[in-house]
């Protein structure tokens, strides 16, 4: 089919997916007793009338299916509802905390992709040798280390050795640049504040190391597998029989063919990256949507939870979409 049709059909397919996800989450959250209003009032404050009034104002006393319809309708308008615990629209909350997550995941990917792919390719190049073995073992062990424990271990290391690296937060209170985008590295550049820039970068080091090496470990394995598979293909044998040097065979024939699936796989890693981000943000008190989700879950803030879920789903779908489309552009065989 034509590329444009393919793209449009893929985008359209996302919509029912989001719909299903939101429905599933909605059902899950309404099944169990316990609501955010009670959390706000705590054990003592307020009378039963107060609580009933607040529930009514929030529309929580309507039948569940009515709440569902109203929520879906507002979603279609782009209104994610009102977060009762944060006293703000959900969209505002998401917009406030998303930049920090983007900053973290982007920098982690920036670290992970070159290192992961390079190590994997290197290992494949010397497949069967000592270098290959050590890289594989290193990646395997790193893969087995849970991302949150790696972060904690780094924190412990910093505290025990006394190195002057910040172990939590996105910035120090005093060196914060004026917030424009919420990504403080960018904001520091925009406000031309070198101290703020240094501060923001220092705070990025540990979280990015944590999340980045996690991603790099799986990328190493994938890259290696893909390159090894490509090296086993017929046309590689033909190329070397034709008299090309090993290096040339590798660089001109194997690598480009292997890189495409590697890069597409990287796009598919977004889901894992977000998952790792949630845990990394918890460890390092990083003010991103991962922490927001955990906060919302702790208080049963329905709208905020649903908003976060939709956001995650959108991010993953967007990544998948980009991957599929670029694959379709590059490889015409894919569009069926």
């Amino acid at each position: 089919m034509r590329l444009r049709t393919y793209i449009i059909s893929r985008i359209l397919l996302t919509i029912p997916m989001i719909f299903i996800l939101v429905t599933v989450v909605f059902i899950i959250m309404r099944i169990i007793p316990g609501d955010p209003v009670a959390a706000l009032f705590g054990g003592k404050g307020g009378s039963e009338e107060q609580i009933a009034l607040l529930r009514h104002q929030l529309g929580l006393d309507k039948p569940v299916y009515v709440q569902y319809i109203e929520y879906m309708a507002s979603l279609a308008r782009g209104d994610f509802g009102y977060s009762m615990v944060r006293q703000d629209s959900v969209v505002t909350e998401l917009a406030t905390y998303l930049p920090a997550t983007l900053e973290l995941t982007f920098c982690a990917a920036l670290l992970a992709i070159p290192i992961g792919v390079y190590c994997g390719v290197l290992a494949a190049r010397h497949a069967g040798g000592k270098l290959d073995a050590s890289i594989r073992i290193g990646a395997l062990v790193r893969w087995c280390i849970p991302v949150f424990w790696f972060g904690l271990a780094l924190q412990i290391l910093v505290v025990q050795t006394g190195v002057a690296l910040p172990i939590s937060g996105q910035t120090s209170q005093m060196e914060e640049a004026t917030r424009v985008t919420g990504m403080y590295v960018v904001d520091a550049i925009l406000s031309r504040d070198p101290r703020a820039l240094g501060d923001a970068l220092l705070h990025l080091i540990l979280p990015v190391l944590t999340l980045g090496t996690t991603m790099a470990a799986s990328l190493t394995k994938i890259s290696r597998t893909n390159v090894v598979d490509v090296l086993g293909e017929e046309y590689i044998k033909v190329a070397s029989l034709k008299g090309c040097s090993e290096d040339r065979v590798f660089q001109k024939h194997a690598l480009p063919n292997a890189l495409i699936p590697i890069l597409t796989y990287t796009g598919l890693q977004v889901a894992i990256l977000l998952q790792g981000a949630v845990l990394t943000e918890s460890v390092f008190s990083w003010p991103g949507v991962g922490r927001l989700l955990l906060f919302a879950v702790g208080y049963r803030d329905f709208n905020l939870i649903q908003g976060c879920v939709v956001l995650f789903a959108l991010l993953v779908s967007a990544a998948n979409l980009i991957v599929d489309i670029s694959y379709a552009i590059v490889d015409p065989r894919v569009r069926f």
Binding site: I32, P33, G34, D35, P36, A38, A39, F41, G42, G43, K44, G45, G46, S47, E48, E49, Q50, I51, L53, V85, R86, Q87, D88, T96, P166, I167, S168, G169, S172, Q173, M174, I189, R192, D193, P194, L197, Q251, S285, P287, R291, V297, G298, Y299, R300
Partner: protein
């Protein structure tokens, strides 16, 4: 290939050089500051807004205590039976013989922070506003039927029933007058962001989730209390980050909610001092008498629990001795204290086992204990309680829930037993007695506490304003509560207020009555 790499590397290096040059040539010079700003760190968030009529959270209560003038105030030292001095009022209230009319004189010449005058009309307006808002905190003044303007500087409060505890309620910031012109001018939403009162500080800005800025109100009626610094109430997401911030000097003071696990490192830091704040919070185990087929319905079983719990062990193991054992069954600091719980000390496991056998459970019992993460010491306190009860043959199953579920079920009285926190809303013994002792109180209903003796005592307690009589009445209430063994006190939850050595004017205070106008700071070297 090698050529491409070199070119790419060269370009990257050039770009980095260019950015650095751009930076250092354009870096702004730091501008000199005029009035000092003191940064107060906390983890207590501000939600939903700062409007005193709409809010009940501790953080906001403290902020509003310095932005608004309640009619009366609680002094820093509340022991024992402290006198509540007039603040916006000009003197003590005159109570009519039947206890239904309270005439209160008001201070003259007081102006709101927006320049408009504060008088009986504005006071009446503020109280009426509370009933109209039907808010969260309006129930504090539910004994008040109406407020009359007697003359420009006198109001009369007409009560639905005699309530000796009203003076205590009038120390709450919710009872501090708001500027009517500000409310009308700004509208409810904007007013909630920076409300206007008569107090020593005024709100400058509120960035939700991040900080609140306050500046001194130079026209404050009590010139000796005009603050010397700007105050920034900086909200942290968690205690660990805040602790690091004060250790590094990024904030001047960590005012509230440092975790007790962080106390040792702060206490040994030479740049940091502290005062002990009496918060009036208690941790307790509530036993529900209303669950069918539960062994807790038997008084002897509840007594067995009382004899099994070793408060000292909990205090030492979980809180490193910083939170001391509590013997107060009325859970109000400083008001008619009587350590009625001492009858169950020292811990006596043998006696507990005997009581269980007498009640018909020679092989012990099984109970469930609910708790949630926000309770101080969770889940370690619960783990200790489980261990201690286990020594007496009481097999306790621990069940933790998230805050929302916990409070929903807790309020519904669906728990068998639960670990929780209790505090007085304002400094009067009735503030807890009416909740937990009177059968009409919401707590009592949850645990099916229905005791005619307690009901009668609670009624008597609010009917008279004579301190000696009240002392006797509330002492009897404490004894009766201890005998019924429904609320098992564990520890007093204190708070340590940490501040850096260049900060002065820090004093201990009670609950939400923090006197921040005394704070000052000298420049750091």
């Amino acid at each position: 290939m090698k050529k491409t790499y070199t070119i790419v590397a060269a370009v990257v290096i050039l770009v980095i050089l260019a950015i650095s040059v751009y930076f250092y040539s354009n870096a702004p010079k730091p501008s000199p500051k005029v009035v000092q700003t003191l940064v107060l760190g906390t983890t207590l968030d501000v939600t939903p807004n700062l409007d005193p009529g709409q809010n009940y959270l501790t953080g906001v209560l403290n902020l509003n205590n310095v932005v608004f003038d309640p009619l009366y105030e609680v002094p820093p030292n509340i022991y024992p039976n402290a006198y509540l001095a007039p603040r916006l009022a000009a003197g003590d209230p005159t109570v009519s013989a039947d206890g239904l009319h309270w005439t209160i004189p008001l201070r003259q010449g007081v102006k709101f922070q927006d320049g408009t005058p504060c008088n009986a009309t504005t006071v009446k307006y503020s109280f009426d506003r509370l009933s109209n808002l039907k808010s969260y905190s309006a129930w504090l003044l539910e004994s008040v039927a109406s407020v009359d303007v007697v003359d420009t500087y006198t109001v009369r409060m007409n009560l639905k029933f005699p309530n000796a505890a009203l003076k205590g309620a009038l120390t709450m910031p919710v009872a501090g007058p708001v500027s009517p012109s500000a409310v009308q001018r700004m509208g409810l939403d904007a007013f909630g962001k920076t409300p206007v009162g008569t107090g020593p500080f005024k709100y400058v800005e509120w960035v939700p989730g991040d900080h609140v800025t306050l500046a001194p109100y130079t026209g404050y009626w009590n010139q000796s209390r005009v603050p010397k610094v700007n105050l920034v109430y900086k909200i942290f997401a968690d205690s660990a980050t805040m602790k690091l911030a004060i250790q590094k000097g990024e904030i001047d003071s960590a005012w509230d909610n440092i975790r007790y696990s962080d106390y040792p490192s702060l206490l040994s830091d030479p740049n940091i001092k502290h005062v002990v704040v009496t918060e009036g919070y208690y941790e307790l185990l509530t036993l529900n008498m209303g669950i069918p087929n539960s062994p807790l319905r038997d008084l002897r079983v509840r007594q067995a629990i009382a004899y099994s719990i070793d408060q000292n062990e909990i205090s030492q193991k979980v809180f490193q001795g910083i939170y001391s054992p509590a013997n107060d069954t009325l859970f109000v600091s400083g008001q008619y204290p009587k350590p009625s719980w001492l009858q169950y000390k020292p811990t006596n496991v043998a006696k507990a086992k005997q009581l269980l056998t007498d009640a018909g459970y020679p092989n012990g019992i099984d109970i469930t204990i609910w708790f949630t993460g926000v309770i101080a010491g969770s889940p370690d306190v619960e783990a200790l309680i489980q261990e201690q009860l286990g020594r007496a043959g009481i097999r306790a199953k621990l069940q933790s829930q998230d805050t929302g579920t916990f409070y929903a079920r807790f309020r519904g009285g669906q728990f068998e037993s639960a670990v929780g926190q209790m505090s007085a809303d304002y400094l009067d013994a009735d503030s807890t007695a009416s909740f937990i002792a009177a059968s009409t109180g919401s707590y009592s209903k949850r645990v099916r506490l229905n005791d005619t003796m307690l009901d009668s005592l609670v009624r008597q307690g609010v009917a008279t304003t004579d301190p000696a009589q009240r002392a006797k009445i509330y002492g009897d209430i404490q004894d009766r509560l201890a005998a019924l063994c429904v609320y098992v006190p564990i520890v007093n939850i204190l708070d340590l207020w940490f501040y850096r050595t260049n900060v002065s004017g820090v004093q201990s205070y009670y609950f939400q009555y923090s006197p921040w106008w005394t704070l000052d700071k000298s420049p750091t070297t």
